[in-house]
């Protein structure tokens, strides 16, 4: 390899993504010019992806604690108490850049990576979710990227046998050259069998298990920390290739070993592969580590130390074992036909030492590698305020608007996507996609239900990052609440543009601030997360385009008796009640964008007190059996919420209470927050209870029939709504 002849200097450091200052710091720590392998280690550990150098200072402001939080950020995934001695372990992570270059493998390995983060901790993975953002449906690359990403997510998740139960999708031109693929996984473990990554026990063996190491994905973490240029496609070799079959074997082998007392510490090899897993395990344990790369299972010949340390080959784990249990562990991995190799041991030197062919290829003190990692307070600038809403001049009827909205990219039926994901495997899926506001799965062998969702409204974030950050958290909380479950905690996946641009940095800071306030107000701590920056690319004119700020929220809720959860599906002959105040906010609504072609005005304002009060009321009334179906009112407003419930149940409704005090469009399509559309057979009890607690409520009609009937008498059949809703993906994918 030509890399062996490379001369290590500031110039090469720059090529590896280190700034001049950062390179100078490396020289100070090392007291000499680093070797190529050492430079590689510094560059990936100090990349944005691994070090969070632009966001770390702000992430610290997020609330991370609650009585039910067992492990917050800092471990491979967040851990919360779900009762009966069990814990849910979950995290969401991005695989944006690889998914643009190679959509299938990029998305597939995103799923694989997040699965490993979860089962590394001792959990059996029980559910996958995702949050996807694609470019404009008109862009020539979009169809190809949608196809590859959906196939990749399905290909991996279906094969490993973990149901994919939920997700969200948006389309917007800002994602044309930079889709966002955020994958979430949830696992369940016994609270007394949770495995952490801090290495311990000087002399203990360091074990490598899983797939062999190849040259794939070298410097992937660095790629994920830089803008794309026009040559992005030439970076295809830095995309990893996944093997879900090996991952399935790895899950079973690890869980089998975890049932013994062999494991001291365990960590998956994710971004920056062997480097980050070894550095993090030893660093967290306050020990040194020595690896002999001669023993690393390799699938390519003549690999250098540099290549092995930076490879991001998939389906690999690093473990520290009790020395007297090594044979037992070996037996288990051989049963599952996986590589098992002792590649090193823990030392008391506080250094990471890498040996290869009898040479010392790297010798780096771990403390400064971690403690002196760069931390930036980058300058921020406010984003320009959105244009004022302006005059509303419309000649499209409510019914025509509804049909158009139901067929628009952000609202159309997603069944084309979820039909390709195995959502029932495991036999615990209570509510599948499209049946409830959050996916509901039962914890095997118990009555405990988990409610799972992913949410974000990027167009709100672009208009006002603070409101958008708060709204994303509030909507996730609402979606869990709408099933009857108690929202417990959040995993966040912050996707933004280039943080070196003050306006983008301003978005990051404001969105985190909004999330913080919402998490605090809703007792909804952040327990894990991931930051993906530099989501920008050059458009056809060579201009840099930043993605819409997209702080995706994944969230988990719990309910002791899963049979008490409810869906969002109409049944005939019930009353319909709106909970929460309708003020008719039209700024940044889908109606405004799709019908008037305008993206103006302030996004709907998030009133966290109202969210809390209305949501707690809804959950209480679900528990009392008063509310029997529930849908939060979000994109598209009240009428879209009713239409979605009608389509899901093949049961129509008659909305015979006219709008009051505002134009009909504002009432039916306004996206005011903190609202729920609920179905009840105990209307009087519900209205009375609401009145007693001072919760705004309004009876608006009844379910039944095969159409949606407006107060004006206008009729829209469910068949027509469904046809519109289905047409988007049919047209996009030319089904």
């Amino acid at each position: 390899m030509s890399k062996a002849q490379l001369i290590v200097n500031e110039e090469l450091g720059k090529e590896f993504g280190l700034s001049s200052d950062e390179y100078a710091k490396v020289l100070t720590i090392m007291g000499r010019t680093p070797s190529l392998t050492e430079l590689g280690i510094f560059s990936v550990m100090w990349s944005e992806h691994c070090s969070y150098k632009s966001s770390r200072a702000w992430l610290r402001n997020l609330p991370t604690k609650a009585p039910w939080v067992i492990h917050g950020p800092g471990e491979n995934a967040g851990v919360v108490d779900i009762g009966q001695g069990l814990a849910a372990i979950f995290k969401m992570e991005s695989h944006n850049h690889p998914s643009f270059i190679e959509p299938y493998q990029g998305a597939a390995t995103g799923v694989g990576g997040i699965l490993r983060d979860v089962f590394t901790m001792g959990a059996r993975p029980v559910a996958n979710l995702n949050a996807l953002r694609f470019g404009s449906p008109d862009h020539p690359a979009t169809r190809h990227i949608v196809d590859g990403v959906v196939r990749g997510i399905g290909g991996y998740g279906n094969c490993v046998g973990v149901p994919t139960v939920g997700g969200e999708v948006n389309f917007h031109a800002s994602y044309n050259g930079n889709p966002l693929v955020n994958a979430m996984n949830v696992g369940v473990a016994r609270q007394d069998r949770i495995f952490l990554s801090a290495a311990a026990g000087i002399g203990n063996p360091v074990i490598y298990v899983g797939s062999k190491t190849g040259r794939d994905g070298i410097h992937g973490a660095t790629m994920a920390s830089a803008e794309f240029d026009k040559d992005a496609a030439s970076k295809r070799p830095t995309v990893q290739v996944g093997d879900p079959f090996v991952e399935k074997l790895l899950i079973e082998a690890c869980l089998e070993l975890m049932a013994t007392d062999a494991i001291v510490a365990i960590q998956d090899m994710g971004a920056a592969g062997l480097t980050s897993s070894a550095v993090e395990m030893a660093g967290k344990g306050g020990v040194g580590i020595e690896l002999n790369l001669d023993h690393v299972p390799q699938r390519e010949e003549h690999m250098t130390a540099y290549e092995m340390m930076l490879s991001e080959s998939q389906e690999r784990m690093l473990m520290v074992l009790r020395p007297d249990r090594t044979d037992l562990a070996k037996e288990i991995f051989e049963k599952w036909e996986l590589d098992f190799a002792i590649i090193g041991h823990l030392t008391d030197t506080g250094h990471i030492v890498i040996k290869h062919h009898g040479q010392t290829e790297a010798d780096i003190p771990l403390e400064p590698l971690a403690d002196e990692a760069p931390l930036y307070h980058r300058p921020t600038a406010p984003s320009p305020k959105p244009e004022p809403l302006g005059a509303i001049d419309v000649d499209v009827s409510i019914e025509q608007s509804l049909i158009k909205l139901l067929g628009c990219a952000d609202l159309a039926s997603r069944s084309w996507i979820w039909d390709q994901y195995d959502s029932t495997i495991g036999g615990q899926t209570v509510y599948r996609p499209g049946q409830a506001d959050a996916a509901i799965i039962r914890v095997d062998g118990t009555n405990i239900g988990l409610a799972l969702t992913t949410d974000c409204t990027p167009r709100y974030c672009a208009a006002d990052a603070y409101q958008g950050g708060a709204q994303a958290v509030a909507e996730a909380w609402r979606n869990i609440t709408a099933t009857g479950a108690k929202p417990l905690a959040v995993t966040d996946n912050l996707n933004f543009g280039n943080p070196e641009k003050p306006e983008v940095m301003g978005q990051i800071v404001a969105a985190i601030e909004g999330m913080k306030d919402a998490c605090n107000a809703l007792d909804f701590p952040v327990v894990s997360g991931n930051v993906s920056l530099y989501n920008e690319t050059r458009d056809a004119n060579g201009e840099n385009v930043s993605v819409l700020p997209t702080p995706a929220i994944g969230a988990l809720g719990v309910i002791d008796d899963v049979s008490k959860t409810i869906g969002n599906v109409f049944k005939a002959d019930y009353d319909l009640v709106v909970i929460g105040a309708t003020k008719g906010e039209l700024g940044q609504t889908l109606w405004l964008r799709e019908i008037l072609g305008k993206e103006t005005g302030n996004p709907p304002q998030v009133d966290l007190q109202a969210e809390r009060r209305n949501g707690d009321f809804v959950r209480e009334q679900i528990a009392n059996g008063v509310i029997e179906a529930c849908h939060d009112v979000s994109d598209g407003g009240l009428l879209v919420a009713a239409a979605e419930m009608a389509m899901a149940g093949n049961v129509g409704c008659t909305l015979d209470v006219p709008e009051v005090g505002m134009r009909p469009e504002a009432y039916w399509f306004g996206e005011d927050q903190a609202r729920y559309l609920v179905m009840t057979s105990q209307k009087d009890a519900l209205l009375q209870a609401a009145k007693a607690q001072d919760i705004p409520v309004r009876f608006i009609g009844c379910t039944g029939g095969d159409s949606l009937v407006m107060p004006s008498g206008a009729v829209t059949t469910i068949a027509r709504m469904k046809a519109a809703s289905k047409s988007f993906f049919e047209k996009l994918m030319k089904v």
Binding site: C159, G161, F245, I425, G426, T429, V430
Partner: protein, 233 residues
């Protein structure tokens, strides 16, 4: 009743099958690792769904040559009952225990959604929990479920009454050309078949995921009730 569920590397619906047998029949099946070279005393062998060996060759082709398969062949010859679901069905066709083959879905995409099946005959262990002509809802989850066999083979299958489950509309209509009802494009809308003895059954959908009202349906229960009635008689 002694049920053995065979697990290959990549099998992933074995726990669903265990849960279904336990829930419906009260019997707990035993798990058999594919490298075993002898079967324990069993009444029925079940090959569950999954991606054995990653499906990197043809689906089921590698598993069909696993050590345990020789034992399963012998078990079949001795008159044992065998049920293969999804990947298990693919393995049974690859092992020539059932005729035909499972091709990629007509849409060339993985398909995971509910479908309806019509019971074509109810005098087998696998269908006696239903009445002939009954319609039931079940889950599907496969990329290669498009049943195919040549004209002669099809004639024999249909003539001998070996088709036991057929994809249907919720009202029981059969229309092989309608992808809403025949989701993977199977010839004659065939979803499940038995061998000439009626003791070996393969089917693509997953009744094992439909045995609990909480999960949306108990429509799959008669499969397990029928098996229990046959094997505990």
């Amino acid at each position: 009743m002694k049920i053995g569920i065979v697990v290959f590397p990549g099998t992933n619906r074995e726990r669903d099958m265990v849960i279904a047998f336990e829930r419906v029949t009260g019997f707990t099946p035993q798990i058999i690792w594919h490298r075993e070279t002898a079967l324990p005393q069993l009444d029925m062998v079940v090959l569950p769904g999954g991606f054995s060996y990653g499906d990197y060759l043809r689906c089921g082709a590698m598993a069909a040559h696993s050590p345990i398969m020789r034992e399963i062949q012998a078990f079949a010859q001795k008159g044992g009952y065998i049920m293969g679901v999804c990947n298990g069905f693919q393995i049974l066709t690859e092992a020539n225990l059932l005729p035909g083959a499972l091709l990629p879905n007509a849409s060339l995409r993985f398909l995971s959604r509910d479908c309806h099946l019509r019971i074509e005959r109810n005098d087998t262990a696998f269908t006696q929990g239903w009445k002939q002509g009954d319609i039931f809802r079940t889950a599907t989850a496969h990329g290669d479920g498009n049943y195919f066999c040549d004209a002669e083979g099809l004639k024999r299958l249909e003539g001998e009454g070996q088709v036991v489950f057929r994809y249907a509309s919720p009202n029981g209509e059969i229309d092989p050309s309608n992808s809403d009802f025949n989701p993977n494009g199977s010839i004659n809308a065939i979803a499940g078949i038995v061998d000439q003895t009626g003791r070996i059954c393969g089917m693509m959908p997953h009744p094992e995921d439909m045995v609990d009202p909480l999960m949306g349906s108990e429509d799959g229960k008669p499969l397990f009730q029928g098996i229990m009635e046959t094997l505990t008689r």
